[in-house]
Subunit: 336 residues, 4 copies
Amino acid sequence: MDIGIIGGSGYTGGELLRLLSQHPEAKLRAVTSRSKKGQKVSDTHTHLKKICDMEFEDLSAKEVASRSDIVFTAVPHGTAMAVVPELLDAGVKVIDLSADYRLKSEVFEKIYKIKHTDPRKVVYGIPELHPEVAEEKLVANPGCYPTGATLAAAPLADAGVIERVVFDSKSGISGAGAEPTATSHYPNMAENIQAYKLTSHRHGAEIVQELSSLDGGLKSISFTPHVIPSVRGILTTAHIFVKEELSEEEVSDIYRNFYQDKPFIRLIKGIPMLTGVRGSNFCDIGFEIEKGSDRIVVISAIDNLVKGASGQAIQNMNLMFGLPEASGLWTPAIAP
Amino acid sequence: MDIGIIGGSGYTGGELLRLLSQHPEAKLRAVTSRSKKGQKVSDTHTHLKKICDMEFEDLSAKEVASRSDIVFTAVPHGTAMAVVPELLDAGVKVIDLSADYRLKSEVFEKIYKIKHTDPRKVVYGIPELHPEVAEEKLVANPGCYPTGATLAAAPLADAGVIERVVFDSKSGISGAGAEPTATSHYPNMAENIQAYKLTSHRHGAEIVQELSSLDGGLKSISFTPHVIPSVRGILTTAHIFVKEELSEEEVSDIYRNFYQDKPFIRLIKGIPMLTGVRGSNFCDIGFEIEKGSDRIVVISAIDNLVKGASGQAIQNMNLMFGLPEASGLWTPAIAP
Amino acid sequence: MDIGIIGGSGYTGGELLRLLSQHPEAKLRAVTSRSKKGQKVSDTHTHLKKICDMEFEDLSAKEVASRSDIVFTAVPHGTAMAVVPELLDAGVKVIDLSADYRLKSEVFEKIYKIKHTDPRKVVYGIPELHPEVAEEKLVANPGCYPTGATLAAAPLADAGVIERVVFDSKSGISGAGAEPTATSHYPNMAENIQAYKLTSHRHGAEIVQELSSLDGGLKSISFTPHVIPSVRGILTTAHIFVKEELSEEEVSDIYRNFYQDKPFIRLIKGIPMLTGVRGSNFCDIGFEIEKGSDRIVVISAIDNLVKGASGQAIQNMNLMFGLPEASGLWTPAIAP
Amino acid sequence: MDIGIIGGSGYTGGELLRLLSQHPEAKLRAVTSRSKKGQKVSDTHTHLKKICDMEFEDLSAKEVASRSDIVFTAVPHGTAMAVVPELLDAGVKVIDLSADYRLKSEVFEKIYKIKHTDPRKVVYGIPELHPEVAEEKLVANPGCYPTGATLAAAPLADAGVIERVVFDSKSGISGAGAEPTATSHYPNMAENIQAYKLTSHRHGAEIVQELSSLDGGLKSISFTPHVIPSVRGILTTAHIFVKEELSEEEVSDIYRNFYQDKPFIRLIKGIPMLTGVRGSNFCDIGFEIEKGSDRIVVISAIDNLVKGASGQAIQNMNLMFGLPEASGLWTPAIAP
């Protein structure tokens, strides 16, 4: 399988390179970066020295397509829609890691305040919810927060029991990217926690879209993100208020049935932690029911750069090419 | 003012010592510790070398009382109720930093599963809500989580507008004490976040008690704690669902009026962070209203060992002795 | 005592403001910042809200001098020498926190590669080594690394016993300033340690200057800095090779005598740590002698922003005005 | 290749399990733990859920040997010597991760203050220095500090140019093990750095042994360890004083020639960092020559649990079985 990556200099690109280096079927053919053209990939991603000895190139979409069976677009939102049509026209499969194809175009335009130049119906690539990615030429790879939040609540949404859900998410700072900012400045982040976009984070729309498609009647979905002093990982605390009380066994059954045969979902007795998933494609899920109350607290833990981005992209790739879903991804987290 | 501390070897005791060393009216007369009897206080609290050159003593309540005008009891719950009556009988004032007197005794017994041997009506020492501490001989110093959570929501509870509130709290690990445990083991805590007691933390009852006393009709109060890779601080994200929509100005007014003339409350435009309060007695509060929704997100930030424990105790002491509320406490946070 | 600060928006400026807010004799009259002119000081230093309600002004040196008895210049190197002469001409005392006056001008020019426009003989403000600061109108406040390193080795240098010394220093990242950079980017600093300028850090010259002035024969002085995942603090590991073996008692005596009556030096049995000095002006020093070897390992710990910068500046101020050396500075570290 | 692990519940055992799960030739047959007998391995090493579904057993050495071609002993020092002879008698190969066989028995007894019950000549398993591990039945897997320190200085020691070397090492806290202690207590470790055993760490003897065997005349070798707020990694700063000045090219050539064809050594232009090696078996090495001085500063970075322990053990295993040296280990670090 010949692979191209458009936009390989950021964290998502680096993570694709790290994971693909361990994939038995993947052969990397092109990695683009306009600003780093001609530089060794391992000068930017120094951890890949001796592992990836390619150079960044500044290539057109067509040139990348000509070398590839599949192309990953790891570019800022608004940029992917300018190259994806060309890639598809050239006959390659595409997994877009930007936000461009995740939402219906009218929702996208409202939230991102950009005109969508390539509106089309694209499958949202959480493969546990959308096995139909296997049939697709273009898959929209989900945002990191929506992956953790949606996987936490989907079984109960699907069961139609949710009255109201509040997602309180805590992310590692790598989600903010490789560029230094005030937020990611060590003295501002260490020994701190930063709540942000308390009621207006763009990823909220993806969560609403996915949960509503499972339960059309579910109207009250809230989402507040935070960054914590951690490089990787998203822990989502889902405060779920149900229509009527459920027993622990009932909830367990709902999750077990919903995620049957899904290799990367691990249902945990106890409470998931970031240390259990760091560097891996697993999503750990646990829950507790509040006695004498309508609240269930569900916790999910993912690595934002793996299951929340590049790992899920490769999981999608595997399905799109008929490979085993876990091919190249069956690696444990690094702990401690 | 002569001061005694019963139980001075833990984090709360150390913080009392640190803060009292800067108090213009405080004269420390006794610090007890059974296990560290005869050792220098600064062998345990090494940061106090040259600042506090006392030794720990193993003294009876009566002995401590005989040297003091006021005694702080910084002992485990269940232990304070055994010494407080004696202290009061000896005519000294008492601030109890344990949980023993925070709840009605029947609620205490249910939650702590201990028989209460000294049931009495005691004022709950959040002085912003209970200025009547000034008249008391015994004050129950609040838990750290309840301080942050209650201060975040009290103005809206008092206004009677809350339908439902979910407190999602994130604490520094010093709240778990000076004793090493698996939870506080650096490899388990670094780059991680640990949700715990998802629906059953004991501090929940204090929050319910205080908010219910402001709004008797408020029934849906949820609380989930987490520990984050930070030594100090509690950030509380209060997801507040209101009965009817309020404008930003209305909410601002409610908070401003409620906290008028309260020196340690800082109403922030923007979002409070732990880095703004570390080492200080301030509680920073900010909020955002979700457009087209019934949700207001209020964020409060405190230092769990200061406003959440020893600083608030000294604030209570000041009021109980007719001193300026901020005496010895008017110090800024350490930042960065 | 009326005080002006030129350059108040950085970490050193913020720390001056924090510490001076607690000083019984200090009255702040002016804080300048060109870029933040007209903004509230507490918009930048958010932890100072309610503590410092001044605004940044864009004032000339003369204007600042007209309001002040003493001026702190907390500006980049190369900038101080342009304002200090004017301040001195206006009759105010000056403490310069930049590098401009720390070294002989010819050494300065060689190392900083800037022409020195105001060469003059200035006392180097480590008051434990230079009590003559008390007589001065201008004091050069030392660099953070040189403070920790020089204090660690000075007694043995003074005793003339050192053959060779290797300073291996580990600093918190706040020493690199408030501006986000790749070095201070959280994902680059967390769970990492960055050695830098392995053999060529500018602060080396200050260390050489001070130790050579104590022992003219001491020629082999090496210095390598590192930044560690900590906001504050410098731990210096001084590997000292002596001319002939010394007993533990002899070394203890040398340190005790040298630092007799120095309030901020704490000689520690055991090994100093950053947690013992954070936020305070103390310098903790401990040592161990390698058995059967010519090596003594001395460890010093300081807070880089306090004893390594703004605290030491205030200590110098106290001496220059005949106040008690520890006035406004006798505060313990914050721990845990 | 059938594999047994004696002592699988600690960090070293967990890391063997993690790495072996990715090894194409390895088949795990037994993992012992007396205290966790009957428990699932993934209850202790929660990150291995779904990856390793074995249980801990309490087996004799003979039982483990009967299922294995090779056995890893990951037990405390003093314990390995009690089981290794039995394993060897049973005809299996052994890699001992304890300290028992690293030093000559008389040196071991002096340093560890234990009688050695199985003195024999064992190859010290840094394969870059001892390719003869390939011929061995028993290999002593090196300590983590000695691996980083020795690899940093070996080329120059081998060239006979070193006069004196000071190793100042900074380790992640995972080196102290999975058991919570005061040292590893988060509030004691965060934002701190702890120097310890300033002149007497046991690992010093391994460094001396290895460098002396390369240069018999090298007498002055010093070593001081520190723990930093990082879970994994050892950065070693080697301050090397040479007999006569060397040019950058000369030093480069010495390192390049010495480490020719060693897959896991990466010679870096610039300064190695822990973030480049985390989770991987690489050792990154860089250096800088102090101008006009006899000092060269060499920096090495390893992951203490991989190249400093379990990864190196597997590297040894590969050589002992004639497999490619990097088999199962050719994985990049996780970054950011």
